[in-house]
Symmetry: C2
Subunit: 354 residues, 2 copies
């Protein structure tokens, strides 16, 4: 008999409702593992706002190296009402993305049957695309500075740093993904070539050059402002989108909304050659903490993406089908407190169907 | 008898369908002028793609100074399929904004009764807010450059330049506007304080300091990514928004979509102490050119904003009421070719009701 596969997962439940949704995610992951004959072994990391407030530490020394010993990272939510915005995001979330070189942020925007979308006349056949967001450079590199700070003559410069290396690997990933996905075989670059003429000129040149290696993929371009309009008016136009870090941040939140909101939207921070991290994209939702009312489906979907990434395709599909069943046959709404079920009950339902 | 007021208007019909919609705008402006006892005298400027392709010139020498001699500028659309994207935008549209120091881009997002919005369960009482976009700095300053261009080691830097001076005058304008508007008396700053920590730190400090002069106005803050979600899910939360040039560009296009699209959305590029420019925000729509099917309402609304700016409040309200009547009682759709009326007929209808 073949040896059982064991995946080592670093779990960072984080703040607020993070631990609650991760608990349900782990429940579902374990159900899938049992059914499909593999094992998941979890190491928990208590990083987040609570720990920071107590110890002043965000990620302890050697913490990033600990993460490297795992097959994947499963993250709840980072963000605490008593911590100045920016600290935890930068020192935990963004630091992991950067130091583990998770250069792809992968965000499927898929409306499941029965899920309420705020936009009219569009169904699951219309809302089904994927955003490939560059995840390690652009504005997120953090360049910039102040001149004459605090005076009436102050100037603040914010820099977006874009490299051929970083853009090319991201664009290649997007082309490969588009080929594999095999839907409309269309990759749309989303940018602002007519105003950000340095950054997007490099993106544009790289896009056209890499495209030559993918003659089977159609290419398209849209300005970021227009893209926001089409997400709402004609989401069916999109198949795979590739964009930079900042624009990706913006359009994927809009994408989350049209696929049903923060209750369902998940993403992966991917290093194809390293350790990747999967997360529900909603925040820590402090006001719902501990009430057992938050929707765990986004965390469950993040877990599903993680299994897919680990190569457990069948298990991932089983979770997806279970999520679809629960959305279609059970939940009254995907919003916290309005589901008609508690957090734990939703986790149980999905686990049972998996 | 008092002398008749005469406003000198510089008209730039521009490319594509620009001239068609401007023609209807002028028709309506003249109807309003006649009814409310003032005059508009128009000087036409043939700037745009056609002229550029023929002469290589975008704005001829002394052109900007010519504009300065007017009370306002009325613009159709700039953009030509045979001209590389960026040239006309930068050398005409952005150049006018910058050289005339039109530091405010004012974008009312208002759903008129009877107008179709792509979002569910929201009506005119829910979609009624105004975006005040900084219009002369940030990324649009054009800073940046390339290093090792064309090599695998290329780096492209794009800079956002933000000044206390530029931010403060924009924020003050927004507070004043909010006070005058007198709806919810809430000004929301939209930014990305947790990642763009230089630019948005300056915005944040300036916002809080200026707020002290407006104790009657409530202040709020939202990240740009979350804002896109709320535009679609809870647009009723907003009253007046202030944001930077790039984020303003993105969220106002999304705003245009929820208010009914490019057929109706208009904006003003305002220099409160100088010459301001008003424009429909859609593009030149080359494929509809010359067919008499494009919707002129956005250009008509831009004209209405221009009159309001010139102090002709009553005339502006008369145009707005006429637009509302036409939307509610006549048009089948606001989209080009689907209105049930031609471009000229829509202009006639609005002019008659004005
Ligand atoms: C929390 C924040 C720093 C983060 C980002 O801007 O990337 C988030 O919005 C996201 O999209 O994952
Ligand atoms: C045409 C383009 C340069 C312009 C901008 O980005 O400002 C447009 O999108 C707008 O919003 O007026």
């Amino acid at each position: 008999m073949a040896e059982e596969k064991v995946y080592k997962i670093a779990v960072i439940p984080g703040d607020g409702t993070g631990p609650e949704v991760i608990r349900e995610g782990v429940k579902v992951l374990d159900a899938a593992a049992e059914r499909f004959g593999f094992k998941l072994s979890y190491n928990y990391f208590d990083w987040g706002g609570e720990r920071y407030l107590k110890t002043g530490e965000t990620i302890p020394e050697g913490g990033i190296d600990e993460l490297r010993k795992h097959n994947a990272i499963y993250l709840g939510a980072i963000g605490h009402p008593d911590v100045t915005p920016g600290i935890l995001e930068k020192e935990i979330l963004l630091r992991i993305r950067f130091e583990l070189d998770q250069y792809i942020n992968l965000r499927p925007v898929k409306l499941y049957p029965g899920v309420w979308t705020p936009i009219k006349d569009k169904g699951p056949e219309d809302i089904d695309f994927v955003v490939v967001r560059e995840n390690t450079e652009g504005f997120y590199a953090g360049g910039g500075g102040f001149l004459r700070k605090g005076t009436p003559h102050e100037i603040a410069v914010q820099e977006s740093i874009n490299t051929r290396y970083g853009i090319e690997r991201c664009i290649r990933y997007a082309f490969e993904y588009c080929r594999k996905r095999n839907k409309k075989k269309t990759l749309t670059m989303v940018g602002k070539t007519n105003v950000l003429t340095y950054a997007w000129n490099l993106w544009e040149r790289t896009f056209h050059e890499v495209a030559k290696d993918y003659p089977d993929i159609k290419t398209d371009y849209a300005h970021v402002d227009a893209t926001c309009m089409w997400f709402v008016k004609n989401p069916e136009w999109f198949d795979v989108i590739v964009t930079d870090n900042m624009f990706g941040d913006i359009i994927t939140d809009l994408g989350a909304m049209i696929q049903g909101g923060m209750g369902i939207a998940a993403g992966g921070n991917i290093n194809p050659e390293g350790v990747s991290m999967f997360e529900p994209i909603g925040g820590s939702a402090p006001k719902y903490t501990g009430k057992n009312v938050i929707n765990p489906l986004a965390a469950i979907c993040a877990g599903m993406m993680m299994l897919e990434h680990l190569g457990e395709e069948e298990a991932a599909r089983a979770i997806e089908n279970a999520v679809i069943k629960v959305c279609r046959d059970h939940l009254k709404s995907l919003s916290a407190g309005k589901m008609g079920y508690s957090t734990t009950e939703v986790g149980d339902l999905v686990a049972n169907y998996t």
